[in-house]
Symmetry: C2
Subunit: 438 residues, 2 copies
């Protein structure tokens, strides 16, 4: 686990005023990575770091020659059109570049005028996926979500016996992972209506979102060589927000016995900025497992994970209907929770993923599974909030009701870390809108 250093000092300020505003997602202590170009241009995509309301164009910065040595080498990797090589470079490279970027962006930094020329307003850029995602894996690590959804499918026995013993996961579809702001069409598929004798082919009638976080793999592991838990975080580059859109009617009909497939693979959205594990150091929390519950087997347990395996990320889900947009109203907040409630840590997820020898590669994406907290208002999916579609929720602002998502509904995930004595670290937003079925 990385230690606190001067880049976490909450008193540190940038010469860029928008980075110092209270409540800013991207102060100088954050420095999340993404891939950008000027909106609507045909420029080459390149790496960038968010700072205040600007992005620092790393390809332009690299040309200035103000960052040299090992940090300069890391900058060259981070400036490419995908971050895979930078992710592969490992924690020392990540930290070296973080410190160098902090130095050029801090108040009193010597190269301010030169570096200013490498800024572009966030409003003027478009993103693409930060890495070429070789494989995408989705975990299932909220016990509250597992119980809530389990009740819909298996009322007598909502939690499967394995849940408390291992971080369950399934392979997802890498090709349909899209960047925030990409809308998608309501999917068609096969569903079995209650009481019917034969399934129907339909446009999804129970469309849902899933509030998740994602994490990106840094250095990979060779096939047949598991990553021990104590080393797992050295293989994790950083985190983002992730919406694992779900067609519940299709999913529940198809998923026995081999798991979700078409119910999930039509679209998965991620936020454009990857917040590094370095930036999250002030927000690590103990991994807490109640004494009366199964304790992890030895390969899923070690002191560092127990002491600080968790991350306290505040999370919020907004639903913005066509009415909200027409009337100029803010999206209705329909859920609010924290990532700290997860039953397994991201290090445990990565260690479990490799325990049988599965090889991870730089730039691979893992989802944490839906994040639902212990109370009803903390549920990370509308199937939970509406109790399986039986109790509609009411949207603030318009008073509309929802059991599942309607065409024109946009879902906006937000995440941020805040506590006394630390600078706020924001994740920005992950947005996507449901278009009518084709």
């Amino acid at each position: 686990m990385t230690l606190l250093d001067h880049t976490h000092n909450p008193a540190a300020r940038s010469w860029l005023a928008s980075a110092n505003l209270t409540g800013a997602d991207f102060p100088i202590q954050n420095l999340p990575f993404g891939v950008i170009r000027r909106r609507g241009s045909n420029e080459a995509f390149r790496g960038a770091v968010a700072i205040g309301d600007q992005v620092l164009d790393l390809a332009a910065l690299a040309k200035l020659g103000v960052i040299t040595g090992a940090a300069g080498d890391a900058l060259q990797q981070a400036a490419k059109d995908a971050l895979n090589d930078f992710m592969a470079a490992g924690p020392d490279a990540w930290r070296t570049l973080r410190h160098a970027l902090f130095d050029v962006l801090k108040e009193g930094g010597t190269a301010e005028q030169a570096v200013r020329s490498s800024l572009i307003a966030q409003a003027d850029v478009e993103h693409r996926l930060p890495s070429r995602i070789g494989d995408y894996t989705d975990f299932y690590t909220s016990i509250h979500h597992a119980r809530n959804v389990g009740r819909v499918i298996r009322p007598d026995d909502p939690l499967t016996p394995n849940f408390q013993w291992l971080p369950i996961a399934y392979h997802g579809r890498a090709s349909s992972v899209v960047i925030s702001g990409t809308d998608y069409h309501r999917p068609h598929g096969q569903a079995m209506p209650p009481g019917a004798k034969a399934p129907v082919y339909n446009a999804c009638t129970r469309l849902d979102f899933e509030l998740e976080m994602g994490f990106f793999v840094g250095p990979g592991n060779a096939m047949g060589r598991p990553v021990p838990l104590a080393q797992a975080e050295q293989h994790i580059f950083g985190m983002c927000l992730l919406n694992d859109w779900s067609a519940r009617d299709h999913q529940f009909w198809e998923m026995n016995p081999l798991g979700p497939f078409l119910g999930k693979n039509f679209c998965t959205s991620i936020s454009p900025w990857i917040v590094t594990m370095d930036a999250l150091v002030p927000f690590r929390v103990a991994f807490e497992r109640p004494a009366d519950e199964p304790q992890p087997l030895a390969y899923l347990d070690e002191p560092g994970n127990r002491a600080a395996g968790g991350v306290d990320v505040q999370l919020s889900v907004g639903l913005e209907s066509e009415q909200h947009r027409t009337k100029g109203l803010a999206a209705a907040e329909i859920s609010r929770t924290s990532f700290r409630h997860q039953y397994w840590t991201i290090a445990q997820m990565l260690a479990q993923h490799t325990v049988g020898g599965c090889n991870l590669q730089p730039g691979d994406l893992c989802g944490t599974g839906t994040i639902s907290g212990p109370t009803a208002g903390e549920a990370g999916a509308i199937v939970e909030l509406s109790q399986g579609g039986t109790k509609p929720i009411t949207l603030a602002g318009t008073g509309e009701q929802r059991t599942f998502l309607l065409d024109g509904d946009a879902v906006i995930l937000r995440g941020w870390c805040e506590r006394e004595g630390a600078a706020r670290i924001g994740f920005g937003e992950c947005r996507g809108m449901v278009l009518p079925a084709v």
Copy 2:
């Protein structure tokens, strides 16, 4: 569906004698594609076609300039270090190149001496994966396998209600797909022993193979744009053999409710040569669904699929123990079946995969699921052959017994098409060996 043409004429012969031998896997009517270099060299990998006991090095052939025009363009694509671009080029390009290769390899072809210089003995080459596999999907389309395995997990209700209504699938792990000849270590993982109160961390005690075929995606489809069944085969480049190695103790503990994960993702082996759909034209068979069983919904039904959606590929599984190798004995054949028994066709699999809008990309790999025929000796996994590990099978040659795979066991899959009035089309072999746990 492609029609028969002169390249399927069983009387056609090559100037290469080994291509004309009775029982050869790679006569001039086959021409399967792979990616090779000289064994043990550090040459660049490049595309190749198998012919007799040789491979035709397509990069060397392209330099000769004997194939020009549209076929020459396709040859340039097929000569690259991965076949993705050639796969993306589509059926017309595939067929044009097939015809041109047939012309230069046939008896009396004008460029024989030049083309001979582009041959390398198969014994002298090594392969890598024929494409960069973006995503790997595994289907579950043998009703006999589903019933056999279902009995182990759910004795009362072996076949899930969805099986006869849609081709079930799950996403597999692309990073651990390896080429035939790659050995792997017995995986560790978590299992729940019968009657135990807590799971154990162990080296797999119920290691299995799965006899499957794979098919490669040619041109992809855009996200949100399903491929109709009638067009599905235009998106399929060709087929190979596939062994979906399975750790049954880990798999059965982990897979409820999200499906197989670590039980499968430690290794998946494929044969090196992709037999094109063009080469398989003489072996297409009707898609037969008994009248008293559910008939496919309209989007999974069309006349071409009914008339010739199936493929009659003969399949064999060999198990070669250390004793077989020490004594110089041939592998014991432990199963023999045909792909024609599958409950769903590859066109139905591809159409179903895209029905919700999931985008497929050139070079993606799909597995058909374990191929088990209607009788006991036709089972495509050892968990079926040994009835869940309760009835050991006896290996021909050595008389050894097996319930599951032991260290040192190599599994060799073979496939071929044969019928009166057509040239034999072989798939070669897919081999892998179990190494001891690390």
